[in-house]
């Protein structure tokens, strides 16, 4: 025993000595690392390549949505892999960094992107991570275009963050109007994830709007990692709700739909843009549930785009897997697609690949994308006044278009 111990200790010492060189002077080793990496950046920048950073969650709670959004950008990149700036053609390279849907990983992911020397950054799905990375982008002077982050705080109080989607106050109002006008609800049960700013924020705006319309709103939240929603659904039923509003992330959505069906809940389920996903749709198949979502895009808006995108998805197994196994077009993919072109427009308008020029040019950029007209207001938000409402078709595995909803404000 002693011998083994001694041997182990000796081994440890050797290891420790070997380790001394590295960590006692973290500065030195990491410096060499830097020079190596610098070379890599230089090769990227010195050629005729422009880097667009993609800052998206590829894992964690929002992994599914982030992947679909990224797919839209990758598809756009596959169609238009180059950009002409002042007569020179540059290749456009997408660099993706995974923010893991988590605020504490956001800064590192953002730094990783910055290390690749991007001209502009796209993303993220999920507002929290966007806000968390905002200062890092800002400090590096790189403009960012939010794709589907709907929280007002993303663009509020800074000059480098833009976005092409509508905002939560708008979406909340749209949803409240829809619940009142179309579903005729007077009592709404809101269910969101505790600690998730997207859920709670949207519920908050919904509540404001709904109470303004004279509806009764009951709010409830479930802890992270919860999977049993039976009690929540019973709460909704017992409290006389006529509509359940549950703007949760996709994985919870799936369980809520399934359990609502099992419990025989017939009242409509209403949700925001997160639920517009084939994963949620798949969960509704063959079940007696009514699911409405508001979203950025309704299928059938641009047939050419859709066919092209579907062909592209089906042509690659990885893409197909990332899209959730089928060729459904998620609205976030469309937004990702549009975001890419907005970025290209900005590059063209800037006349250079320098982030500072892009930042200066971005406020004036306008673009007519698949999802509609895109232009920015003073804050950097897209000027949008419409949202699409869709309903899950429980037998055909498609979303049925219900109506275009807008608010007069």
């Amino acid at each position: 025993m002693k011998k083994i111990l001694a041997l182990l200790l000796a081994g440890l010492m050797v290891f420790a000595l070997a380790a001394c060189g590295t960590p006692a002077e973290p500065a030195e080793t990491e410096e060499t690392e830097t020079t190596e990496a610098t070379e890599a950046t230089e090769t990227a920048a010195s050629g005729d390549t422009i880097v667009i950073g993609v800052y998206e969650p590829l894992s964690g709670d929002n992994g599914a949505g982030g992947k679909q959004e990224t797919l839209g950008m990758q598809y756009a990149n596959s169609i238009t892999p180059t950009v002409d700036i002042n007569g020179t053609t540059y290749n456009v390279k997408l660099e993706v960094a995974d923010n893991e849907s988590s605020n504490d990983k956001a800064v590192s992911a953002a730094s990783t992107l910055i290390a690749k020397g991007p001209s502009v950054i796209l993303g993220s799905y999920g507002s929290g991570v966007s806000i968390a990375a905002s200062d890092t982008f800002g400090a590096a002077g790189i403009p960012a275009i939010g794709v589907t982050c709907t929280n007002p705080q993303v663009t509020d109080g800074n000059s480098h963050y833009f976005r092409i989607c509508f905002l939560d106050p708008f979406q909340g109002t749209v949803l409240a109007n829809f619940a009142k006008d179309e579903l005729g609800a007077s009592t709404v049960y809101c269910l969101g994830q505790l600690g998730n700013d997207y859920d709670q924020g949207l519920i908050n705006y919904f509540k404001q709007a709904a109470e303004g319309l004279g509806m009764t709103v009951i709010t409830d939240s479930f802890p992270e990692g919860n999977s049993d929603f039976n009690s929540y659904l019973s709460n909704a039923k017992n409290q006389g709700a006529e509509v359940i509003f549950a703007p949760t992330s996709i994985s919870y959505a799936q369980m809520i739909v399934d359990q609502a069906a099992a419990q025989g809940i017939t009242m409509p389920l209403l949700a925001g843009d997160t639920w517009d996903s084939n994963v949620v749709l798949a969960a509704t198949q063959g079940k007696d549930v009514t699911v409405y979502v508001t979203t950025f895009y309704a299928e059938g808006g641009d047939v050419d785009f859709e066919n092209g995108f579907k062909d592209w998805i089906n042509g690659d197994s990885t893409n197909l897997a990332n899209n959730g196994g089928d060729d459904m077009i998620a609205a976030v993919s469309v937004m990702g697609y549009d975001a890419y072109y907005v970025a290209l427009e900005a590059l063209k308008a800037a006349g250079s690949a320098d982030p500072a020029d892009v930042l200066a040019a971005l406020p004036g950029v306008t673009y007519t994308g698949v999802s509609g007209e895109i232009a920015f207001n003073d804050i950097g938000d897209a000027i949008r006044d419409t949202a699409f409402v869709k309903q899950a078709n429980t037998s055909d595995n498609v979303w049925d278009f219900v109506k275009v909803q807008s608010v007069a404000e």
Partner: protein, 406 residues
């Protein structure tokens, strides 16, 4: 006789301390250059800065956990909870008054309507206010965490080993739920982010007309100071008493060590520094939300502690820098679909999202299985020890050795 004892510091030890101090100075000069001399537009400098900052913060948190788990033998899994308290306490007192309405957008601007850095800023100027204000907020963060620890400790520290672990883990989860509760929204902002508070980028000094950024030095400064205090504590009489509790509680008690008092001290001090670490993490992240402070964060810290070696402060420090660099930087290429070597891009089929994490967890398993005592065991890395070893003298147990700073 006493004079002989104290004066008899081995020459290696003197040289060792000198080398350590020189290294710290060199490190600080390097950090200063990183912030101010090297081009900020260079992405890799950014990345290095990010990793160094986060590494320093985690080093502090790991050392604080090591104090509890490694030196006092209290198996506690509440570290993330105390970090959360620290992060919130820091952020709440450091949000500028005019930002309250934006940050607490759903809670009418919140209950606390002042910001310590700002109040101080009125007296000391913007930079001085930010520096001193951040410092005071960090201390407040530590104190709030320590107060919570004292309250929790009274009932919980009576529990033994695994029961203590699960009780502290549970406590951390309770704290998380409480901080996310809308009922406290006016203070904690419920489920929403706290942001806009003083962060590392605000820490700078103005000499003449030039502004020098201290954003990277600051976390190192706090972490070095905190770790130094912990080292002093561990090598003091109280530190020895902690170790005696770890080795044998019954014997410690029989030799007059008041178990409850010492466990409580260790718990409170560890939580204080966890709170400080949480505050630094809040500064680093620029936003705070309760959600990421879940039990997996505690596990991650525990992993670093064990990889470094339970009961080794230098081990914890080394392990946290390695861990953070590897997980957030060095291994990222594994996610990107291939490697670029010598200007050629190789596509490797397994390389896609998530592969980094798989490789990383395999590496962790290998370390855990083949170096079950961690990188350093319970020894310390010391320059004095190295010099001794170089001279071929018999190594003396490292407890007396000098710390190398980071």
């Amino acid at each position: 006789m006493g004079k002989k004892l104290t004066a008899r510091k081995a020459p290696e030890q003197k040289i060792g301390s000198l080398v350590a101090i020189l290294c710290i100075i060199a490190l600080y000069i390097f950090l200063f250059c990183l912030d101010n001399v090297l081009p900020a537009s260079n992405g890799n400098v950014q990345m290095l800065i990010t990793v160094l900052k986060k590494g320093a913060i985690y080093a502090l948190v790991c050392v604080s956990m090591n104090l509890l788990n490694g030196f006092t033998g209290l198996f506690s899994l509440g570290q993330a909870g105390f970090m959360l308290i620290g992060a919130y306490a820091y952020a709440i007192f450091a949000i500028p008054a005019d930002q309250h309405s934006a940050v607490y957008q759903y809670f009418d601007g919140g209950a606390i309507q002042f910001s310590i850095p700002e109040v101080l800023g009125n007296v000391l100027g913007k930079n001085g206010g930010a520096f001193l204000g951040a410092l005071i907020c960090i201390i407040i963060a530590g104190c709030v965490a320590a107060i919570f620890a004292a309250l929790i400790g009274i009932p919980v520290l009576r529990l033994k080993s695994d029961y203590l672990a699960i009780a502290t883990l549970g406590f951390a989860e309770i704290i998380r739920a409480v901080f996310q509760w809308n009922g406290l929204g006016k203070i904690t902002n419920g489920s929403n982010l706290l942001r806009k508070y003083t962060n590392f980028n605000d820490i700078q000094i103005q000499v003449g007309g030039t502004i020098f950024k201290l954003g990277t030095i600051f976390p190192f400064f706090i972490a070095t100071l905190s770790i130094l205090i912990i080292v002093l504590l561990v090598t003091s009489s109280y530190g020895r008493a902690f170790k005696s509790i770890r080795d044998d509680e019954v014997a410690a008690e029989a030799m007059g060590v008041n178990l409850f008092k010492h466990k409580m001290l260790s718990f409170v001090i560890s939580s204080f520094f966890a709170g400080v670490g949480g505050a630094l993490l809040a500064m680093f992240q620029t936003t705070v939300q309760a959600a990421p402070f879940r039990s997996s964060m505690t596990y991650e810290i525990l992993l670093m502690v064990v990889i470094g070696g339970i009961g080794s402060i230098t081990g914890s420090v080394i392990a946290s820098f390695l861990y953070i660099s590897a997980s957030e930087w060095w291994l990222r290429f594994l996610d990107s679909g291939g490697v670029t070597l010598f200007h050629t891009h190789f596509n490797i089929p397994f390389f896609r999202d998530g592969f980094r994490k798989v490789v990383f967890s395999v590496v962790i398993m290998v370390i855990v299985l083949f170096f079950s005592r961690g990188i350093m065991g319970d020894k310390e890395l010391s320059f004095a020890g190295m010099i001794r070893r170089l001279r071929g003298k018999k190594a003396v147990p490292a407890a007396e050795g000098e710390e190398d700073a980071q």
